[in-house]
Amino acid sequence: MSNEQKHLKHKDESELRALLQREFPPLLSTELPRDLWPQMLLRLDAQPLRVPWFDWALAAAVAAILLLFPNAIPALLYQL
């Protein structure tokens, strides 16, 4: 890139920077108006119930055993 091209690129950027900053003032000193922890708690409470994968695997294994060995059902019920 020649010096002239660099100069034009820099000038282009500076002009747009000035225009943009006039239209969208920088927000360096914006402060949080309130504590957001209550909202965070609501978000945490609203999380869907997630069943761990190993629980699903265990349920599938029990179902498969009962399907393959129906005679085991009374023994299982007795244990419960």
Partner: protein, 176 residues
């Protein structure tokens, strides 16, 4: 056990302590990107929600919580810019500075605003932080998870896109 280690282990009190320590900073960073106070509050909560869900992936020894939170906040803000409708992006929370230059007409300003809001989200993100907020390129790169060179490329392309759009409107972007 240290606060960060307790947080990684799923201790809610540790998470609350981190939330209270960092919520203001995450909010300040986010509002500078999305320029909408309501959206920035929602995105701050969204950021910490993502942080909480990803806590097991955080390694206290590898990096700072602040930098990690800022990276996640940047991604959340970027998602917001991608999905927010154009109409709702024209927030009046921060109107233009009243000391307007008469040389910059209302039409130029309107077209500039429209052209800026029409930038693809990833360009708008770096253009907002670099050109409007004056954030150093290395800070933008770290927050966006890209190289400094790529930040420079995106700023350059954003300037070119804005210049082209303003040109197509038959307007000259002059700041005289």
């Amino acid at each position: 056990m240290e606060l960060l280690e307790r947080f990684v282990a799923g201790d809610l009190e540790a998470f609350e302590a981190l939330f209270r320590q960092h919520q203001s900073e995450v909010y300040r960073w986010t509002v500078r990107i999305v320029r909408d106070t309501g959206a920035a509050e929602d995105l701050t909560v969204e950021t910490f929600w993502r942080i909480y869900r990803a806590r097991e992936r955080f390694d206290p020894a590898a990096g700072s919580f602040r930098a990690w939170a800022r990276r996640i906040a940047t991604n959340a803000a970027l998602d917001h810019l991608r999905h927010a409708r154009k109409e709702t992006e024209l927030s009046e929370d921060y109107p233009a500075t009243p000391r307007g230059d008469p040389a910059v007409g209302r039409e130029v300003r309107r077209q500039l605003r429209r052209a800026f809001l029409e930038l693809p989200a990833k360009y708008r993100l770096v253009a907002t932080l670099a050109l409007i907020e004056g954030e150093p390129y290395d800070q933008i790169a770290e927050a966006a998870g890209i190289s400094v060179a790529l930040v420079k490329v995106r700023v350059f392309r954003a300037v070119r896109m804005l210049r082209k759009k303003l040109g197509s409107f038959g307007l000259e972007a002059t700041a005289k």
